[in-house]
Amino acid sequence: MNEVLVVLGYGLLTALATGLGALPFAFVGRVSENTVARANAVASGLMLGASFGLVAEATQYGSWQTVLGAVCGVLFVLATQVVLRGHDIEFGRVRGAGAQRMFLMLIVMTVHSFAEGVAVGVSFGGGMTLAAVIVAAIAVHNIPEGLAISAVLRPRGTSVAACAGWSIVSSLPQPLMAVPAFLLVEAFAPALPYGIGFAAGAMVFMVFVELLPEAYDQARRPSVALLVSITMLGMMLFQQYL
């Protein structure tokens, strides 16, 4: 079979796996203000843990490039915030600051998938022998990302099915970027530290500027801190062992 189609198909599979992250919310009942805060804390822990792993990987290619990418990621979030504030946004039945936060989350996670897609394509470039293993690993890594997205969307009234749908959409750049990166490994590999740094910078800044302040507003500090630190540790272990 055509190798390009194989890479594309595998990429789509990993994107679909992101939707599984919405599943736990099928079992969560009524949603209160406190749930929003707790879900924010879980999303923060997942994103901080993922970013720590990404930065550790990216700095192996070059530390200045990683930090430069991260600076661009922060600027991207700031610029997106300014643009979103200028519009009266609706997301489902949510308006105002809540809707802006939901949109920003989707944008940040979608943009971060571009960098991940490049990483997938470049790793396939080394040969197709390990392809199935790599695909399984990436698919599994995507599940907590879907969980993070759903944690921000679901408590604000988005249905579980819609959470799964948005999670999958946010991962679609993965197959789209994996194919060109696979075909042009030599051209894409040098961009990897910038791209991964960008993804990590955007996610960490999103946590500090949007998710954590809201969590502290609506829940007790020890419960926020416990949820963030334990999910962060869990995410780092998850990434290393699976």
Binding site: T59, G201, V209, P213, P222, V228, L233, L237
Partner: protein
């Protein structure tokens, strides 16, 4: 110089920075709240960066013992807060008038310092530059902590020089734990991943339970986010660039 003396010197220097925190009170009556927020954010970013470095340094992947150590570190700080009845204590309520509030803040600062001392000690077992950098990060954290503590104590009638002394005294547990954990890991290298995990977990939890929520009350979330992430970026550059490792 004997390595233990080096640890003693660096951790003592970091502890002494608490006294420097009283200096702004000499100059003005009202505290520069926004500036305290930014210096707390700077300390939070440096400490998260150090926690990142602890977790990736010399470890291909976090071993089970490291993960358990991190859980112990998180649990230790959570438990000390719960037991001392200070879980929700806001350490920056300058308008608080109850007399016991001053003691509570002093107690919490002492407990926090113990966990921070472990970080200095275990970082010193990795390398001298990394240990010195960790001591610097803790010293940066000690300054605004000392400022707020001195302000709280002086409004309760404590003289400023005594308040500065108490701000340093609250950090004595830092020096003790730095020396003890350094000696412990040097004597029993098998404990290294446990102590490393403990320090990283305790620091992340401290930053999240204490520094970050207070930062957001002292300055806007955008400026806090920027200061924190820039401080983290500096640590990543220094660590991965090989300057401190």
């Amino acid at each position: 110089m004997d390595p233990t003396l080096v640890v003693l010197a660096y951790s003592s220097a970091a502890a002494a920075m608490g006294g420097l925190g009283a200096a702004p009170l000499l100059l003005r009556e009202r505290l520069p709240v926004t500036a305290i927020g930014w210096s707390n954010a700077l300390a939070a970013g440096l400490m998260l960066g150090v926690a990142y470095a602890l977790m990736i340094l010399g470890l291909e992947r976090i071993p089970l013992s490291g993960a358990l150590g991190a859980m112990l570190g998180i649990g230790f700080v959570y438990w000390t807060h719960a037991v001392s009845g200070t879980a929700d204590l806001d350490l920056n309520r300058l308008d608080e008038t109850q007399p016991e509030y001053g003691y509570q803040v002093l107690l919490v600062n002492t407990l926090h310092s113990a966990a921070e001392g472990v970080a200095i000690g275990v970082a010193m077992t990795v390398s001298l530059p990394f240990g010195a950098f960790t001591a610097l990060a803790i010293a940066v954290h000690n300054v605004p902590e000392g400022t707020v503590l001195s302000a709280i104590l002086t409004t309760r009638g404590v003289r400023l020089s005594h308040a500065a002394g108490l701000a340093v005294a609250a950090n004595v547990s830092q020096v003790l734990l730095a020396v003890v954990s350094f000696a412990l890991v040097t004597a029993a290298p098998g404990l290294f991943p446990w102590v490393l995990g403990f320090a990283a977990g305790a620091m992340v939890y401290l930053v999240l339970v204490d520094l970050m929520p207070e930062c957001y009350q002292q300055a806007g979330s955008t400026s806090i986010g920027l200061v924190t992430i820039v401080a983290m970026g500096i640590v990543v550059l220094l660590v991965s660039g090989g300057v401190v490792r």
